[in-house]
């Protein structure tokens, strides 16, 4: 059985109160009755002794004032049943044996027949006091009624019952008040703590008392306030971290393909991966160096940024992965990091759009009387290995003969032309117009057939 705090406090107080009430109800009256009875016995005994002393003085000194005063005092007591003067005489029988014969000399009131051997019982208390004089030996025997004692006992018990009842009720009230005073704030603290545990940091415990519970409530409120503040700070920091992470992720995604970036974040490294068939595209601006020498460097960089930004948008639209830019060269690949069977089409469409963008841009530049670039594009399809190497400044890259061949195709292209390999031609020639250029010698590779990709077939 589980008791709550209020019940426990109430039970504790009631236990103490009950013990005290039982003490008042039983032990206290028993003690009082015993004390009362002892006093009563002593009082009667003192009466008897006083009368006996008075008798002794009267018989020896012939001074009756003492016995008169004593006996008057006893006679006036309403509790008196009788007072007897017992005379003791030594009797010698025929066998010369001596025995004491006790006879009643006088009794007040004289209507009472007194047995000299009477003893105390529940109704009377009998006390004796002996006296010895040359004239007479004997004893004073006093009998007092216990009626007053019984009445007093009843009064004591009644008072005890009333007092114990009052004590019990007061104790009960105090216990109830105390248990509520303690348990209510404790229960409020418990409920508030539960709600705080569930995440509600708006909890506030009202308690103005200056005791330990009040201090506990104050500490609880401070704790909740601190937690709330800390939580807000954490949320703010978390939000900031989210923003920073988003920036970081976006930055990372700008550098790396999303799959590679995820793998890198998850494992701390990214394995290189082999792709059987991808299409690699290179661009380059004809006479870039000579034109660049005539341009302001800032303008040059702005021009490159403008063009490459347009390339970025185009290849993104065609699901092509940008690899890098090297000077005026732009390199991208279709078909990775996720395998894509349409990579020849995607790369062909992107190349056509890039060429068209540059043609339009050239027209604009010429209209402004500015120098413009002629673009050369080369594309090859084949196998590559892609991934990240090294530990710092990660850069997603591709390696393999396909990359070299694509680069050679670009360098063997012509301004405004898209130079593609035999491999790519075979994959797209049914949908695109291509013109055979013949076999062209490529450094380090030998002669390979090349085609100009003109456009999409009508």
């Amino acid at each position: 059985m589980v008791f709550n705090v209020q019940t426990k406090i109430l039970m504790t107080v009631l236990s103490v109160v009950l013990m005290f009430a039982f003490f008042i109800l039983f032990y206290f009256p028993a003690r009082q009755e015993r004390y009362l009875l002892d006093n009563y016995n002593k009082e009667i005994e003192n009466f008897a002794k006083t009368v006996a002393l008075g008798v002794k003085i009267a018989l020896t000194e012939q001074n009756f004032e003492g016995v008169e005063t004593a006996i008057d005092f006893v006679r006036m007591d309403s509790r008196l049943q009788f007072v007897s003067l017992i005379q003791s005489d030594s009797i010698h029988d025929d066998n010369a044996n001596v025995h004491i014969e006790r006879t009643v000399f006088k009794t007040f009131p004289d209507s009472v027949q007194v047995d000299v051997n009477v003893e105390s019982d529940e109704h009377f208390i009998v006390k004796r006091a002996h006296f010895f004089t040359p004239m007479m030996n004997g004893e004073i025997m006093l009998s007092f009624s216990t009626t007053e004692i019984v009445k007093s006992k009843k009064q004591i018990r009644l008072t005890s019952v009333f007092a114990s009842l009052v004590v019990f009720l007061i104790g009960l009230s105090i216990g109830y008040w105390l248990s509520r005073k303690i348990s209510i704030p404790v229960l409020a603290l418990r409920d508030a703590a539960n709600k705080v545990g569930e995440g509600d940091l708006t909890q506030w415990v009202k308690n103005k008392s200056r005791d330990e519970i009040g201090e506990l409530s104050k500490a609880f409120n401070n704790m909740v306030k601190d937690i709330s503040t800390a939580r807000q700070e954490v949320e703010q920091r978390t939000q900031e971290l989210r923003v920073e992470k988003k920036k970081s992720d976006e930055l990372l995604l700008n550098i790396l393909p999303s799959e590679t970036a995820e793998e890198l974040k998850r494992t701390g490294k990214a394995k290189t991966k082999h792709y059987d068939s991808v299409s690699v595209l290179f661009t380059d601006f004809k006479d870039f160096t000579s034109i660049a020498e005539k341009m302001d460097p800032n303008d040059l960089v702005a021009e490159l940024h403008y063009c490459f930004s347009a390339f970025d948008r185009i290849i993104k639209k065609h699901d092509i992965e940008k690899i890098k830019t090297i000077g005026d060269s732009y390199m991208c690949v279709a078909g990775l990091p996720l395998k894509n069977e349409l990579h020849p089409i995607n790369i062909a469409n992107a190349a056509i759009e890039i060429r068209e963008f540059m043609q339009m841009h050239k027209i604009d530049k010429q209209a402004k009387g500015e120098d413009s670039f002629d673009i050369r594009i080369g594309i090859h399809t084949g196998e590559v290995v892609a991934g990240i190497v090294g530990e710092n400044k990660f850069a997603y890259d591709i390696w393999g003969n396909t990359v070299n061949t694509a680069s050679r195709l670009e360098s063997n292209s012509e301004p405004g032309k898209i130079n593609i390999s035999e491999t790519l031609y075979q994959l797209i020639h049914d949908k695109y117009d291509c013109v055979l250029r013949g076999k062209i010698s490529v450094k380090g590779i030998g002669e390979i057939p090349m085609y100009f990709l003109e456009g999409i077939k009508n």
């Binding site: 008798v55 009267a58 018989l59 012939q62 001074n63 009756f64 016995v67 008169e68 006996i71 008057d72 006679r75 007072v83 003067l85 000399f105 006088k106 007040f108 009131p109 004289d110 004239m135 007479m136």
Partner: protein, 149 residues
Amino acid sequence: MKTNYISILFALIFGIFLPMSLRAQDTDLIIIRNEVSVPSEMDLSQLKSVLRGEKYRWKDGSKVVVALMKTNTPVGTNTCRKLYNMSSNELNKYFLALVFQGKVKAPTFFNSESELASFVAETPGAIGVLQNVYEIPVKTILVDGKKQI
């Protein structure tokens, strides 16, 4: 012979002093009174009644106060015999019984007649028994017309 002389000597002593002794005990008693409330004359039965405590108050309502010589004095012994017809012990027991039952106030006993006379003279309603008359302002009671009984 010597024995006869001693016997004669004892006979002379008893013959002379015993009657003297008896005469001393039989000496007449004088009843004195306080002049307030106490009558100056009464008969012997009235006197005995008063002395025995049978009469509590005088005619004017004042309390009767009896003063006696202690019974271990010759006057006290004489008083017991003549007026109470009791021995000393009987007198004591008599008054003890009365006092015990609250029926009477016991007499006041004195060791000397002068004290007794002074007490009676100073105590309204007092009556006392003496053997000698002193030069004190105390009245006597005529009992059966006699000053001494």
